[in-house]
Structure formats: structure tokens, C-alpha cells
Symmetry: C2
Subunit: 482 residues, 2 copies
């Protein structure tokens, strides 16, 4: 008697015929008092369990209903139905947990179509639905691929701090972390809140990026990456923003911007290929879902490519690389710009690009992922390396169809004097970042890195459009449920 996950058993397929097996899972449907569709989360596919009701007592049969948890002991036989090679002829069934059908009303476990919004309200139960479970398995595969990629390339995973005493990173608004009793805040003599009496003896925040610490690590270990949660206290209630999200940030000593672009492209292709290779059933399901969704859109808003086609397209094409300046020229001369179709029209050099511009370049002009580089210094962060022209920096953004910016990175300013000048210009506190400056004092080297938002990647690979549908328990303004 072998205990199998449903995935294992279906992979074995006809080889398993005549074997006595045990499977455990949740009932997805029970037709004609005879056919159970059983799922255990290991795969999107169910195994059919055939119950000869003559052989089972009524009490057991009564409890076999949608969402119930059962253990089936039986023999694998060739399936008579279509769509499956094998099924299990049940010899005995143990009910782990039944379901009160009244309780089931109003839950997303009821066997009918539910909106994604409704699923979000019951995030604790949506792991039991086909769509969300498929997304979670793909998310897992992508995360594993990320670790495998960097491990294979000789990178070291470094856990940069979540609670940080620094607010100089400048990537966005920060949450405060405190151990104060709010009804009894200690004050300094001049009436200010006295953070020296807080847990860490200073004001502390949740990190917005591990980059600066990762740079310090790369200056000793050579090639490192971070992979952890990051936070933004921004009141953006959109389908693209989360207050808490996961970010991957590789940082490599001795890499210049070209190396950085090579790494980003190679990395993205690796993880997408991994998902295609390892999530076939889930991606086929999500591909169908995507097509249905597209078919309901007005014709001019439909995507040219199916979900899997889009992934393959990214794999098979070299990412177009061009400078910000070249991009501005293209955009200035573009039809939508001339016809006033952009919300933000492109008049000249220097402005930041909006999502509409990025998507025009990727989806209409080049029809390919694009890496833009050498951005105006003024619209990018203080730590990016200044070019010889004195006005652009070695920044890069990777732009993807349907997503826009998916990766942002740069070669870092390794010259101590230039870095100091930039920090002055950008009003970044040099005393607070004494340790960051130190990394430029003791054997400074050219180095580069980038950040990838995990949820943006999962959106792209699964074809979902709302970022709340690709993370288990989304954190957004006014919402920290579960």
C-alpha cells in the first residue's frame, strides 16, 4: 500500500494500474453518488475516485460532499471516462472533516464561478481554488528558479535587514517600527518624541530596499543577491502597488552596466524558461483563462499573443537596448505623441517616462522587451554612476509587455568624491551613511546591480492583472487582513 500525492500518481499514470494506493485530499465534486473529483493541492488536476455506493454505509456517503477532506484506499484502474488515464476504485474511505452545507453558503468554496474580488475577501480559503492555487504553484516555481539561478552562478544569498535605522535610501515613503506605548510617549526636554528611548534607541523603519547593504556585502563576497520583503508606505490603491512586496536584488562587484544588462536578460529568460518547463499544467490552465479574458475585451485592446506565446516570445528575442535619449527621439516622433494621444506628451529631453510611453516602446514600436539606459541624472537615485557627459547616469530599466518596468538597476558610483558630491546635491545625509561611504574608501571597485519585484514577475508569467491576486495575503492601504 503506497501513499501518493495526486501529482505523483498522475505522473505514474498507467504504470500504477493494479496498485493498491492511498490518496488524501479535498472533494471538488461528487457526481451521481459515485464519482469523486479529488484534489490535494499538489497539482491542478484531480484524480477521479469511483465509489460503488452499495459497498459503503450511508453515513460515509452523506459526508462526501464538496470541500470535505477524505482519505481513500483503493486500487488504480484504467479510467473508462475521457480526459484521464487512470482512476481509483475505492475500497474504503475515511472522512477527515466534513462540511456543513449551510456554512458553505457565501464562501468561495461553493462550486461555481467567483470573481477575483470575492476570492480576495476570503484569502485564507482561496488556496483551495484552481486559479489561485495555480498562481501559487507558479510563484513557488519562479522563486525556486531564482535561488537556483543565483546559486548556480556562484552568487551568495544575503539577508539584508528589514528593520533599518536609515531613511536615506530614498526609494519611497517608509513605515515606522516602534515598541512605544502610544498612550505614553517619552518626550525630550524640548517636547519632541524621544526615540532614544525606543527599542533600538533610535527611529527605525521598514526597509524599502536592501541595495546599500548588498553593496557592502558584494565588496567582500563578490556576487550576492537579496530576496526578501520590502515596504512602501504610499497611499496608492492601484492594481500595481502593494505596501509589502518581495524583491530580488543581485549586486555584483566588477560588473559594469553592460554586464548588468546581460545578467538581467539572462536571469529573466532562465526563470521564465524554468516556469515553462516545470509548470506546464498550471500554465495551460492560466493560458486558457487569459484567452477567455482577452476575448471579452474590445478588439483593439486585445493582446496579439496568448500567455504562453508571450513567454516564449520573450525567450526567443534579444532584448532591445537603447539609451533614454534615443527613446525620447522615438517617442517624440511617434504617432500617439503627434496626435496628442499620450496623457503626458513628450516635448523634450529630461522628463521621466510614464507607463504609457514604456508600453508604447515595448508593445508597439519594438514589439520586444526593451532595456533603456543612460537616464538623466536628475530623475534617478544618488548612487548611480555619472557618465562622462555629466548629465546622464548609468541607470537601466527593463521594460516588459503588459507590465512596463519590471527591473530597475544601475552601475553604482564607485568614485568617493563624485558620490559625495551627488549626496550633497540630493541632500542625502553622509553621516548617517558613513558605512556606505566606507565601501568606497577601502579598495573601491566598479559594481552594478538591479531590483526585480517578484510580484511583477508573477503577474507577467501568470497573465494576471491585479497584483493582489499573486501574493497570498496582500497588504494595501486600509487593509491588513489575516
Amino acid at each position: 500500500m503506497i501513499s501518493y500525492s495526486i501529482d505523483q500518481l498522475l505522473v505514474k499514470g498507467k504504470e500504477a494500474i493494479h496498485q493498491d494506493v492511498i490518496v488524501k485530499g479535498w472533494v471538488r465534486s461528487f457526481r451521481s453518488n459515485r464519482f469523486i473529483a479529488l484534489n490535494d493541492g499538489s497539482t491542478i488536476n484531480n484524480i477521479q475516485v469511483v465509489v460503488d455506493f452499495e459497498n459503503f454505509d450511508e453515513e460515509t456517503l452523506d459526508q462526501i460532499s464538496v470541500a470535505a477532506a477524505i482519505k481513500v484506499t483503493g486500487v488504480v484502474v484504467e479510467s473508462q471516462g475521457k480526459g484521464q488515464d487512470i482512476e481509483i476504485q475505492a475500497k474504503s474511505i475515511k472522512i477527515y472533516g466534513g462540511v456543513n452545507s449551510d456554512d458553505l453558503q457565501g464562501t468561495i468554496l461553493q462550486p461555481k464561478r467567483h470573481t477575483l474580488e470575492f476570492l480576495r475577501e476570503q484569502a485564507h480559503l482561496r488556496f483551495r481554488t484552481n486559479t489561485f492555487a495555480a498562481i501559487m504553484r507558479v510563484r513557488h516555481a519562479l522563486m525556486f528558479a531564482i535561488h537556483q539561478y543565483y546559486n548556480d552562478k556562484g552568487f551568495f544569498y544575503v539577508n539584508t535587514p528589514i528593520v533599518t535605522g536609515s531613511d536615506a535610501e530614498g526609494a519611497g515613503e517608509m513605515f515606522c517600527v516602534t515598541n512605544f506605548d502610544f498612550d505614553n510617549l517619552p518626550k525630550t526636554e524640548d517636547g519632541k518624541v524621544d526615540f532614544s528611548q525606543d527599542f533600538f534607541s533610535k527611529k527605525t523603519n521598514l526597509t524599502v530596499s536592501g541595495q546599500l547593504e548588498a553593496e557592502a556585502a558584494a565588496m567582500g563576497l563578490g556576487k550576492v543577491y537579496t530576496f526578501g520583503p520590502t515596504f512602501r508606505a504610499e497611499n496608492s490603491n492601484t492594481s500595481r502597488h502593494l505596501a509589502e512586496f518581495w524583491m530580488i536584488e543581485p549586486e555584483v562587484a566588477f560588473n559594469d552596466l553592460d554586464d548588468n544588462m546581460d545578467l538581467a536578460e539572462d536571469f529573466m529568460k532562465y526563470v521564465i524558461q524554468y516556469a515553462l518547463d516545470n509548470c506546464k499544467d498550471d500554465l495551460a490552465f492560466l493560458n486558457d483563462r487569459y484567452e477567455k479574458e482577452q476575448s471579452q475585451k474590445p478588439k483593439d485592446q486585445r493582446s496579439d499573443l496568448g500567455l504562453i506565446e508571450r513567454l516564449e516570445y520573450v525567450l526567443n528575442n534579444k532584448f532591445v537596448r537603447l539609451t533614454y535619449t534615443e527613446a525620447i527621439d522615438i517617442l517624440k516622433d511617434s504617432k500617439p505623441n503627434k496626435k496628442g494621444k499620450f496623457k503626458y506628451s513628450i516635448d523634450g529631453w529630461g522628463a521621466d517616462l510614464q507607463s504609457e510611453h514604456e508600453r508604447y516602446l515595448v508593445e508597439k514600436h519594438f514589439k520586444s522587451p526593451v532595456i533603456l539606459f543612460d537616464y538623466p541624472a536628475e530623475i534617478k537615485a544618488f548612487y548611480m554612476r555619472l557618465n562622462e557627459d555629466g548629465k546622464t547616469v548609468r541607470a537601466m530599466d527593463v521594460l516588459f509587455p503588459g507590465i512596463g518596468e519590471i527591473i530597475g538597476g544601475s552601475q553604482r558610483e564607485e568614485r568617493l568624491d563624485v558620490l559625495r558630491k551627488k549626496m550633497e546635491e540630493f541632500n542625502v545625509d553622509q553621516e548617517e551613511l558613513w558605512w556606505y561611504l566606507d565601501t568606497r574608501k577601502f579598495g573601491t571597485v566598479p559594481h552594478s546591480g538591479f531590483g526585480l519585484g517578484l510580484e511583477r514577475l508573477v503577474l507577467f508569467v501568470t497573465g494576471m492583472t491585479n497584483i493582489r491576486d499573486v501574493i497570498p495575503f496582500p497588504r494595501t492601504p486600509k487593509s491588513a487582513e489575516f
Copy 2:
């Protein structure tokens, strides 16, 4: 001309002789104006670069000093010295970043012995030291092994939330996360702080454990694990506690406590074996370090085993499994108890075990890792499954030599009525945890899981004794530097 990491080149060894290569790294020493020991972080080993000073200009030679960053172009030759197969005969050297020798004073980069305390003060530079870099590489290998183990076993990595609206988990004191302006706290009519006006419209905290959310995920996906930062706002300034640390929490539907013990043992052995297989040089270095440290201790406090011997010992022995009740009997009759040598003497059944008791069982009595299970219900969490005796729960702790408790876990209470009663007794808010109770309503199943503190594991494998030496930027009371 091939660019190699030093690790790659040393692995190639004599095969690389006569090749023209490029290596980049930081100077660890420069002897006789001729021999550079170069390290790039990829390995604990240096490559020797031989400089014929007649062929280089003085300016370049002047800048080759400890901690400087250089690029070497040269040919691989057989080494004349001992301790290495190959070395590089330099043809050209580019200085990336020199070092001002005055600046170097007072830093941990000075080529001499430094205390671990001093290294901690310059945590941003300690990636450049042999000891800390070795620890970081081992930490990386362990983290990768953890992901690989669970992926291979069909588990899905689930990111449970860091910011949580729940404070019912009961694993310890929590930090508060807020977006309030402290000088201007909104108040309700009755003068309390009005958290409904905070970012998430409620009081939110940093998570102490992802277990409850992982249980919800396991009720759909079957086998899951979390791996992320967790937090304790406890004022424990010890060598074993951090305010921010990383935890791994597997959770498996249909697993009972025996399965859970099997999983914990198999998992620990896998990751330790992985480190032994993949971190040979770093562990050899740390083994030497450990031996030196042991030799400086009084004889009766020395460990019987070397570091690597201790790891192999864990691999080669089955973990002893016994109940809390059996452990109490052993401890009551033990020599140290009878002679009053325990700080907390064992008088009878019911008390929680202290570290001294756990270590006595592991290090003196069984001389083996031990899994204790079936603890008194009163000293364990509300969610642990009640045994038939009505007074013990299906809890388990895995105890390791030199560490004490390294894993804590349990079979979870899957019976809704029993769980509710326990929550009442433990004063856990059922309304707040409505969603957790839901998972027992819709097809509840037996399930189990445990938590492993990553830093405890790294301590055990590296032989370090202070937890601040095994995480890049430790967070402790009064300290959130970098």
C-alpha cells in the same frame, strides 16, 4: 583571455596552466614587493599573483597594498611555493581602488587578529574577513539546501505576511508598524490613539510567526513552507537572541506527529549533509577555528567532538525520541539534579524544561540529538493537538548539542470544538482569528508543522557561539546600525 572567479580557477587547478586569464579581487597581502595574495569572496582561498616588479611602474606597485582592489591579467603557472598548485604570473595590473593607509588604521581590514566584537562594530566591512565570509558562504549553502529540500519533496514556498493585523499568535512581544506622525497622533473621542486612521486602518505589528497563515495555505496546497524574517520585541541582550531573525516553517496537511518528527530529522540531516558536501574549505577553516577555541577552554568545558565530527555524528545517528514525561523521569534521577547542580531543579511533572536540562539530555545522557514530545498542554501554545489524556499536547522540540532547542513544532488541533475550547482557556480572540477557525470548518484534516530558526542552524553548523556573528546586520536591543 578568460575571466575567472578565484574559486573557479582553483577548482580548475593544474588544468589551467599556460592559460591567459583575468582575475579581479582585493589584496589580502603583498609580500616582498612580489607576492600578492588575492581574494574575491568566491572562496576562502587566495590565489597567489607573482609580480616581477621590474616590469611594473612604481605608481602601480605603490598602490598594491592590503585591501586595494585590482584586476590582474596574466598567465597561470605551476606554483613554486607550497600549499598551492598554481599561481598567476602577472602581465598587467589595473588598480580599481587603492587604500589610504591612514584610513585603514582602526578598521578590521588591517592585517591582524581582531575580536568578533570588533568585527561586529564594522559589520559593513566584515564580509572581507576570512571568518565572517566563511560563515556567510555556509549560511548561503544552508539556505539553498533548505529551498532545494522542500522543492524536491513537493512543498510550495509560501510568503506569509510580515505586517500583520493579528496579535493573537502569542509567540512573543511584537513591534508595532505605523505611518503616524508621532507629534500629531489622531485620537478617538475618549482620548485613545485612533488606529483606524493609521495606514492599514488598524493597529498592525511585525509577525512573530507565519504558522497560522501557513496552515491556511496547507489546507489548499497540501505541503507548504515559509522562509522569511520574524521579529521579537523582547529586551533580551544575549548571545542567543535577535530582534529580527529568519525562520523556516513547513506545514503539511495529513501529517501526524510521527510524520512531523520524520520530516524534521530527514530535513536536518539533508541540510547538514549538503553543507558538508558543498562547503568543504569553509568548514575546514571553521573546524580549525573551533578547535583553537575549544583548546582555550577549561578541560571540563571542552566539546568531545570537533566541529565536523559533530556534524557527522548528527548524520550518523538516529535522533532519540522520548516523551516529556520520560524526560522528566530521567532528569529527576540524574546526578546533577540530585547534587543540586541544576539552577532549576526538577521536582515533578509539569514544569517547562530549561536549556540546562535539554543540554543534559542531549550532551550527557543520550549523547545524541533528541526529540521530546507530548508536553504538558499548559506550557505549550493553544493550537497544539490535545492528547487523549487531556493533559498533554502533541508538541515536539528537537534538541541539538551545544544549541538546545533548534526546532519546535506540533501536530495542530484540527477539531473545531476542541480548538475553540483551548482558545477560550488561553484567552485567544476568536473573532480576530475567524479565518483560522474557518480552516477547521471546511474539510478539516490532521496536519503538522514546525519552526526552525535559521540562525540557530547556522550557529550549529559553523560552531560559532554568538548569534550576532551569523547574520549580516544583527538587530538587537539598542542597536539597528547600518
